[in-house]
Symmetry: C2
Subunit: 222 residues, 2 copies
Amino acid sequence: MTTQSDSTIEITAFNWVPPFAAGLVRDLRVRWALEEAGLSYRARLLDVGSERPADYYREQPFGQVPCYREGDLRLFETGAIVQHIGEKDERLLPRDPVGRARAIQWSYAALNSVEPALQNLTLIDVFYADQEWAKLRRPGAADFARLKLQRVADWLGDSEWLEDRFTIGDLMMVTVLRILRHTELVGERRNLAGYLARGEARPAFQRALAAQLRDFENRDAA
Amino acid sequence: MTTQSDSTIEITAFNWVPPFAAGLVRDLRVRWALEEAGLSYRARLLDVGSERPADYYREQPFGQVPCYREGDLRLFETGAIVQHIGEKDERLLPRDPVGRARAIQWSYAALNSVEPALQNLTLIDVFYADQEWAKLRRPGAADFARLKLQRVADWLGDSEWLEDRFTIGDLMMVTVLRILRHTELVGERRNLAGYLARGEARPAFQRALAAQLRDFENRDAA
């Protein structure tokens, strides 16, 4: 399922980002969910280095990507968008009430219990590495990221996915773990590294990643 | 609706926390949602200063409160729990598809686009204030928190709630804004201060807050 210019689903993404961010921009999550569900979409590309159009903040109050449009529905926040896509396809979101609630729980957990610690470390490494506070803080920030990873690894054990099957919770957690790709922290835990690799090996993930990177290449070629 | 020992809904909470955390512990969100929906619950209290029982990590992989039990369902993550409670009562979560998705979107936004910046500043102030990195970092962390608050304030404008009525999105956002109660940052924005006050003035919020604080007092009295 490639992107289609006449699709009824539209997402926003960037037309280019610096190499450290390529493959990590959050529209990847939405592209991945759409690919898992076999839904086509089109991308409306923004320039990362330019001011957002003033009316963009009425679509996305924080000025970020992606936004999602489908008929009357406009959504931001990848957790909400991926959950919305999940409602369309039980391969992403189980229909039984307990399985459904547990999948949604892991989506929130990825975004609120894990991502902030990983993002904090990554910001230190990518944006603030030469600042004195960042040098002093990095060991503690890395320890906190490790603690969060260990909690996820302990939960996972030898299981393939966070619950008994792949869900939106895994989709979100895998994309969160990828934030630390510039470090060895995920690789230090064998089961977590295997989990990340399992997620990234899914054909739908591969198609989503290729589509994000392709949109960057198009600008390079222009 | 006070807590009832024979309720079918159980949450975990702490039997005491230090004053800086009293009224902020996250079970408040779940208590508030239950109060809005008129559902009784019982609280299973944990000791904040003790190691969690080893099996608690199978309920809550990060060792935090609250956990939620209802029949076969066990949930952690306040976003997921509050959304689950919202499914029971349209006063918390609209039934129309667009309104529903937008409410869920704001729940994620509170937890992923706003809370990390506010929490980061609060950790600096509460836990790390005497550390050199924290002194160097605080101005930047405060600026980042202000930016997030401004985005929410800009979205809100003169509206009463984030969308056209109160939803779980407001419940989550109000509890996130409360994290900064030790600062003037929310008060610097008149509309945001009014929004926070409106949320806190709801009778269900007041009952939830009283119930959390009452559980702390019971230990003090023991």
